[in-house]
Subunit: 284 residues, 4 copies
Amino acid sequence: MSNPTATLLISCPDQRGLVAKFANFIYANGGNIIHADQHTDFSAGLFLTRIEWQLNGFNLPKDLIAPAFNAIAQPLGAKWELHFSDTIPRIAIWVSRQDHCLYDLIWRHRANEFAAEIPLIISNHPHLKAVAAQFEIDFHHIPITKENKPEQEAKQIELLRQYKIDLVVLAKYMQILSADFITQFPQIINIHHSFLPAFVGANPYHRAFERGVKIIGATSHYVTTDLDAGPIIEQDVVRVSHRDEVEDLVRKGKDLERVVLARAVRLHLQNRVLVYGNRTVVFE
Amino acid sequence: MSNPTATLLISCPDQRGLVAKFANFIYANGGNIIHADQHTDFSAGLFLTRIEWQLNGFNLPKDLIAPAFNAIAQPLGAKWELHFSDTIPRIAIWVSRQDHCLYDLIWRHRANEFAAEIPLIISNHPHLKAVAAQFEIDFHHIPITKENKPEQEAKQIELLRQYKIDLVVLAKYMQILSADFITQFPQIINIHHSFLPAFVGANPYHRAFERGVKIIGATSHYVTTDLDAGPIIEQDVVRVSHRDEVEDLVRKGKDLERVVLARAVRLHLQNRVLVYGNRTVVFE
Amino acid sequence: MSNPTATLLISCPDQRGLVAKFANFIYANGGNIIHADQHTDFSAGLFLTRIEWQLNGFNLPKDLIAPAFNAIAQPLGAKWELHFSDTIPRIAIWVSRQDHCLYDLIWRHRANEFAAEIPLIISNHPHLKAVAAQFEIDFHHIPITKENKPEQEAKQIELLRQYKIDLVVLAKYMQILSADFITQFPQIINIHHSFLPAFVGANPYHRAFERGVKIIGATSHYVTTDLDAGPIIEQDVVRVSHRDEVEDLVRKGKDLERVVLARAVRLHLQNRVLVYGNRTVVFE
Amino acid sequence: MSNPTATLLISCPDQRGLVAKFANFIYANGGNIIHADQHTDFSAGLFLTRIEWQLNGFNLPKDLIAPAFNAIAQPLGAKWELHFSDTIPRIAIWVSRQDHCLYDLIWRHRANEFAAEIPLIISNHPHLKAVAAQFEIDFHHIPITKENKPEQEAKQIELLRQYKIDLVVLAKYMQILSADFITQFPQIINIHHSFLPAFVGANPYHRAFERGVKIIGATSHYVTTDLDAGPIIEQDVVRVSHRDEVEDLVRKGKDLERVVLARAVRLHLQNRVLVYGNRTVVFE
């Protein structure tokens, strides 16, 4: 990335002049805006925006941008995040026994679809150790039982710290994380194998088959303490028919899961996802 | 239709030789099969098939086909329906205040997409009387309250008899039919404005908006006494984003509702839908 | 529309500070921006933006906005258009014999999906006169032959002037407009019944059938003198199979044509389509 | 596969009694039909069918099925193929420098989506040798120039013979095969990175970008001597917008190419694709 950028994600009570104020902050400091997008949620009275500008030629040094912008944002009551494209996030992929999302994420990483590093795989099963080895990623097997969950989650948190992980991607990790874990490490993206809110919970493909639906889906969302109810980042669907047995739904669903999870991770890494309440704005 | 056809829809405990037996029945009587499709539900142990053949040149007179076929079907334990393409079904469209599905069904009828007659519109509101008049279809306004529902349903049943109706299409009829009504007149197709089983019940667009889904859908199904849980005939979806307010979901949803309901009605009229349990086989 | 808005569509050689300059123009005059979207075409070196703000509370009277903005735009080399939401555009729908797009546009107009008036229908055939009468829209039958085309186009131009038409929508008008006509009246949206650039020209459904494609499409585009090659506004597709005869492609295609044309017209009427070169930016 | 099956793919001049005759052949020999599907192309006067039955309990030994069926088929003028599910086809994957389809096919093979063996990878570049090694598949680097093409194709044909290959899958192999090669080895499936027949030939993504299309696609087809014009097996599409640069089209297209090629290969391996003329019937 020869020309690094800074990105602001801002949510702010709606009021006159916000576009001008934020744009002026960049312009006054010599920045060149390359993407700016905004959305107003009229019912919530919120102005939501994403602004990305080139750091080359920007007069403020990187460590002064946040305090300088805060001087503008605070009086407006804005919440905001600042990201730099040359600070590469670090991802831990969590899996159980299924390998399709893992292979897909790794392949995309190698194809440069993700501006991120993937130094760590955590699993409650040993099955995918060989895949990790094949691509030279550290693999930690942390089996989970009802009894050992708290101490194993402590180990997981410790690993995330040790590997300096910024984002956990649950790539078909078939365990529920405790509220305590999520509080300690809230940056988690999950893939759910149904078109949420249909078939919340376990065995969505079996239940889709029984209900006789004509379309199945997959949903990628941020994990919250409310199971399968976190803010949705991306969804997609595929047609099925009476000819599809449960195993066909599973097979077709895998293709969805791979693509939907990958899109959500990519959007997150590009800082295109702004969460407010239980909703997302995806600045595509 | 210069060359009328007969269609058998059969569901039968699976056993060796069914395709041969059914095909031989047609062939031995000089019939020319123009469509034959089958499906085996292995978990239910059921063989399901649709066979359509030309009546020209068929040796059996129309009124003897059913008894003759029954002699084959009964020993096999088969359930079956027989339809003739030159017996034109009669549809009653039921509406409330929204006109989009009504206009669409009428337009398709005039464009010869439906082999059916539409002699009757029933509504619990007077609003669409003018549309009915415009296309010269009888319109009956039957307002429904909690108190008058039983007697009004009796009037509706009487109208269906009087107009010799074969199929009721609920084209955004915003009332729940009683179990008693459904028992008396079970051939009812409904359009539900969500991707069932997501957002069962009232106000699906508002709830889809609140949940922040990225895709909305519509579902056409047969009506059963279990609300919004009848056998699904057809579904379709459309992408939405944070830029879509509830009113945009409603607008986009209308396009879905029109198309999904029309497809379901057409499939039903072509005798392509075989219901078993709470599922459908759609022989497309 | 209790709160009218103004919308600027701007394309401008890319340079530092454009977002700030345009936003400041609105803010300095007391305007409240409710939508702002931008795109940079890096290969073309162009900055493209759409800004919509409320006129209530805006200090500049409507007739001074254009000259005031021009003082900013001209030094930057910008091309721009200014639209007011309370200036209602007038549409002429042109048809031949097929009625599906016509009915659909009229229905949407009545459902308030289009902020426009539709005072005029022009056709080279008399067939749809009754539809026009049904909805009380003036209908002019202007038959076209090779010989009379220049004089008939003169009549058409005269009608467009007389009815103060802003936009011509070719809703399955099966005639090619002359280059001369297009030069005189360039605001024309067409629906082409294929997934352009596949099957440019005549009989796309027949050719799609012969080629054995598994998906068909429809394309709405601005009309230019280069047949079927104008800037694309919207496209959509539907799956087909070997079971679909040409007449099924036609039937399925009609549903596409209706929706794709309607979306394109709506986007145009909301001033969301910015044409540059032979491409469009659609600010959704 | 504990219960192997036989599958007949038949195309036959349409005539009375075909379903009965073919079904009787299976039934008379004690076979249990588990799938039967048919299609009549009325304009071509052709009856096309796929029949699959269980070999367990079938009275005819495998080597007598073909001659026995031929005695029925020949008088009818039928063309047919017979396949056994326990005869596992052998695939050669051909690649150039891009790895996405290769990885995907290998992953699906390991996930048991393909009933086939993949013993051979051929490439005109050395780049993907390591991928082949990773999954322990033989890799042959056969560089192609204008001058050496005939002798290199001879080597390729020799390899296909040596490895007993039944099907060549061109998984982004960026060379055109000679008519001579295709005549010698006609079982070839290709993936083309456009929604054919749009953008036949080179650089479809660049040309799609320039044309400003709103949807891109991918097409999998059998290879014939007429470049990019062979019978289409499967197509799919994805939406793009002005925000997508050529490199985004390439990235989105890769996801399409993977899925479309894999579906086509799977359908072929399940003997669900019947080619006639330049069209396919896909018995799904």
